[in-house]
Amino acid sequence: NKPWHDIGRDAKPAEIKAWDIDVRPDFVGLPKGSGSVSKGEEVWVSKCASCHGDFGESNEVFTPIVGGTTAKDIETGRVANLRLEAHYPQRTTLMKVATVSTLWDYINRAMPWNAPKSLSTDEVYGVLAYILHLGNIVPADFVLSDQNIADVQKRMPNRNGMVFYEPLWKVNGKGDVQNTRCMKNCPIEGDIKSMLPENMRDAHGNLIEQNRIIGPVRGWDTTQPPRK
């Protein structure tokens, strides 16, 4: 043992219990409990809807939680609206999330945003059941519980939508895109493909006030049109 081996103290079971709140995709960590869609709707209306909208559709404080998934997606486990061709304007939580445990865990640890960790276990089950119901993943009379959540997982619309891409997870991986170190007469298309729209010139405030008053350059005075 190193000379510092005994610094710190043993954690007590009750302490581990108090903090070990995470729930994994295999449901390790999920506490026993249950909550119905209707119980969840009550929680939602009183504690969630003000920020996320009555149907989880609000874009007011965050991207919508619900929307963009179909019965077909629930069948395939792939959200079709995520495909480029779909031109679907948004990516809601239910479109993206592959693992129902993620929602349970996150609501339990962080929501409501201004009172995180204030929900009871059964309230978390319930409000998650309500969200799943808004996405037509469970029926209106559903009671979500630790017993049936693994079945619900099998209906998550994007459950097959995730790819583990190791080269960007490992420090010593090799990325999928790189350049070559050409130094002279390199092949380029060369023309300007995109530039800041004229009406965005002032969208970030007056840039002269975001640059130093001395030095080799000044910020643009965006209250004025570009210099001639």
Partner: protein, 401 residues
């Protein structure tokens, strides 16, 4: 095509008043030492602030403030200007009440106070931290005017703390079963991120020090994880818990965000590495050159996979390149400052920088990235940045490849 008047002191026949008339500070008595027990920048520097990008987020406690790279020097980011990213707001936590728990697949689950941690063998290392979403707004078209907003979700500091491996050794990890650790914060979001054990046992630091003093509250005071080379969201702030486990956790910020949408509609999950990248910080978008003539073009390069080997700069939109001077120290997973000489002849020019890291990886062009990853990836945009210098001296954000 005349540029902004300024820069050069215009001397009247006898000379300038700035020299001939002695200023008050040359003919008076100044302020005492320790007038400020903890000092602040000059009042003339107040333009350099961290700022939000209007419209990017809808609530400022789940938002980002960008670091004003356009005005910074060297490789150390002043802690007062360190970029911020919070998911449920920041706190100034009483450090005497803060605890770190290490448990899970370990022989001895343990609790540490700050007193305990700060007694342990420590390391001090300079590393960059970059949000995985840095430069996100530029995956598609040009969206923001300045380098503060294109690249300002990055900072670089000297961190001091105990290696996570030291703590895991003390707790006795179950080497057969253990494969990952979960790091969790003590703020409202209780941010949680999975880190693979190989990484956790390598250079990850449980840090309390940043640039010589304690972490700032906005950066996780009194304790945060430092995961060199990996995106900022994994550098869990207000760190309260490390759990050793055998499966990835798929937490909200690794299952709903910080996942990369590919053209086929799949998402890449667990893509944490910040690949080799660089940007010219001056002159840069939203700035105006004062005059024709010589400029020291300067910028930053970094790689999550190692150290910077070279930075090339082009002044003609990528046709021809010259290697820049690299300032030392050149350290792994840290900023490297580069400088290069340039004489502006008053004609339009397109400035680009391209970094090469110690693995031989060459920073890609945005079209190369898009060819594989499409335009909707949000995260991990490490493309070459282009700045157009127009005849009027104005520098603008453009895409050229």
């Amino acid at each position: 095509a005349s540029a902004v008047v300024g820069g050069k002191a215009l001397a009247a026949e006898d000379g300038e008043d700035a020299i001939l008339k002695l200023p008050e500070h040359t003919t008076g008595l100044g302020q005492p030492v320790a007038a400020r027990g903890y000092g602040m920048p000059s009042k003339w520097e107040s333009n350099l602030q961290r700022r939000e990008s209007p419209g990017l987020t809808r609530v400022s406690q789940a938002s980002v403030s960008f670091c004003p790279l356009q005005g910074l020097f060297g490789i150390i980011t002043p802690s007062g200007l360190h970029f911020e990213r919070h998911h449920q707001g920041w706190w100034d936590i009483d450090p005497s009440q803060h605890r770190l728990m290490v448990h899970g697949l370990v022989k001895r689950p343990r609790v540490f106070t700050m007193d305990d941690l700060m007694r342990l063998p420590s390391v001090s290392r300079i590393h960059f931290i970059e949000c995985g979403a840095n430069t996100a707004m530029e995956w598609g078209n040009v969206a923001v005017p300045t380098v503060q907003y294109t690249h300002g979700m990055i900072s670089c500091s000297e961190f001091t703390g105990v290696l996570l491996s030291t703590l895991l050794d003390m707790c006795g990890i179950d080497r057969k079963k253990a494969k990952y650790v979960l790091a969790e914060g003590a703020d409202g979001s209780s941010m949680t991120r999975t880190i693979d054990l190989e990484r956790a046992l390598d250079d990850v630091i449980v840090a309390w020090g940043m640039n010589g003093e304690m972490l700032r509250p906005e950066n996780g005071y009194p304790l945060r994880l430092v995961v060199p080379g990996v995106q900022g969201v994994s550098w869990v702030k207000y760190l309260r818990r490390i759990e050793v486990g055998d499966q990835k956790w798929a937490t909200k910020d690794e299952a709903v965000h910080y996942i990369d949408l590919m053209p086929d509609g799949t998402h890449r999950q667990y893509t944490g590495i910040q690949e080799c990248k660089s940007v010219i910080t001056s002159p840069s978008g939203g700035q105006t050159l004062l005059d024709r003539g010589y400029y020291n073009v300067t910028g930053l390069a970094w790689s999550g996979r190692g150290s910077i080997k070279a930075v090339d700069v082009s002044f003609d939109g990528g046709r021809n390149w010259r290697p820049a001077r690299l300032e030392g120290p050149i350290l792994p997973k840290a900023f490297t400052r580069f400088n290069i000489d340039w004489v502006w002849d008053g004609k339009p020019a397109i400035l680009q920088s391209r970094a090469i890291d110690s693995t031989g990886y060459v920073q890609p062009k945005i079209n190369q990235l898009r060819a594989v990853r499409g335009t909707r990836s949000i995260y991990h945009n490490n493309a070459i940045q282009s700045w157009l210098v127009s005849e009027n001296g104005e520098v603008s954000n453009v895409q050229v490849y």
